[in-house]
């Protein structure tokens, strides 16, 4: 299936819902959305990946690119993911040490608030 993107603000944190496949074809759309959000001064991001069916290194690159952008503004980009097949890719690449990975959106938001 294709990639579906949505986003909403909750408690001052922008939550990005991602559904479908993030690969070399679809990843540019996610990159554009993240860039757009940062350009609109959203530096606290949570990317909800619970409905992501496929993620490759191109998608990882986009997420890391987003992380670098928000960090440049002292922000952060956390992930919501409990799917083992997606988490495995983060483990293989060592990116579990780079991203905050949470089980639910509420948990991710609570973690961000406690950091402030």
């Amino acid at each position: 299936m294709d990639l579906k993107l949505g986003h909403y603000n909750k408690d001052g944190i922008e939550v990005v819902d991602v559904e479908g496949e993030i690969d070399v074809y679809t990843a540019p759309r996610l990159r554009e959305l993240l860039i757009d959000l940062v350009n609109k001064n959203n530096y606290q991001l949570v990317v909800n990946m619970e409905k992501v069916e496929f993620l490759d290194s191109t998608g990882l690159g986009v997420l890391v690119g987003g992380l670098k952008r928000v960090r440049a503004h002292d922000g952060s980009l956390d992930l919501v993911c409990t799917q083992e097949r997606i988490l495995k890719i983060f483990r293989i690449t060592g990116l579990t040490k780079v991203f905050g990975i949470h089980s639910t959106v509420d948990e991710a938001i609570a973690a961000k608030k406690s950091e402030k």
Binding site: E21, D23, V24, Y25, R31, I35, F54, D56, S57, T58, L60, G61, V62, V64, G65, L67, K68, R85, I89, R91, I92, T93, G94, L95, K97, V98
Partner: protein, 155 residues
């Protein structure tokens, strides 16, 4: 002769098709269901790398995938026809990025930008997924050969 051979125009949109075909042939060849996600991801990474190489060097040439059921192994070979550049194969021979190591993370975090991720990272992911990966470079291009255990279905 390969069990199934696919060639496709080097466009990102076709990589998904390649993944789907590879997964279907792997399933038919008796690759364990638990390994199909790895086949799908590894073949996708290999095809993404090849597509990127072709778009830079030879956009009119197709990318080729050969899938062969060899009885005990399911073998996938993804071949490009782009001129060999050592940077493109970094990470495949122990001298570049290795999966799961801090260097891989550091390289990605430092290198990722709007242009994407460092060369070789996709191959690092592949080597973290397939237990048998061989990358060969010739003057006519790069081949990524991957294999997984299989068993011919009884039905």
């Amino acid at each position: 002769m390969a069990t199934v051979e696919v060639t496709f125009t080097p466009l990102p949109a076709h990589v998904r098709t390649a993944r789907l075909v590879a997964t279907a042939v792997a399933r038919r060849s008796g690759v364990d269901e638990a390994l199909l996600d790895e086949v799908r991801l590894a073949v996708g990474e290999a095809c993404s790398r090849a597509v990127e190489a072709h778009r830079r060097h030879c956009p009119a040439e197709p990318v080729k995938i050969e899938m062969t059921d060899q009885g005990e192994r399911f073998v996938v070979v993804v071949s490009d026809q782009a001129p060999t550049n050592p940077a493109r194969t970094a990470g495949t021979n122990g001298h570049g990025i290795s999966p799961g190591e801090p260097a891989a993370t550091t390289a990605l975090v430092q290198g990722a930008d709007d242009a994407g991720i460092p060369a070789g990272f996709g191959l690092a992911v592949i080597s973290g997924l397939a237990d048998d990966v061989r990358v060969s470079s010739t003057s006519s291009g790069v081949s990524v050969r991957m294999s997984w255990p299989s068993a011919t279905p009884t039905a």
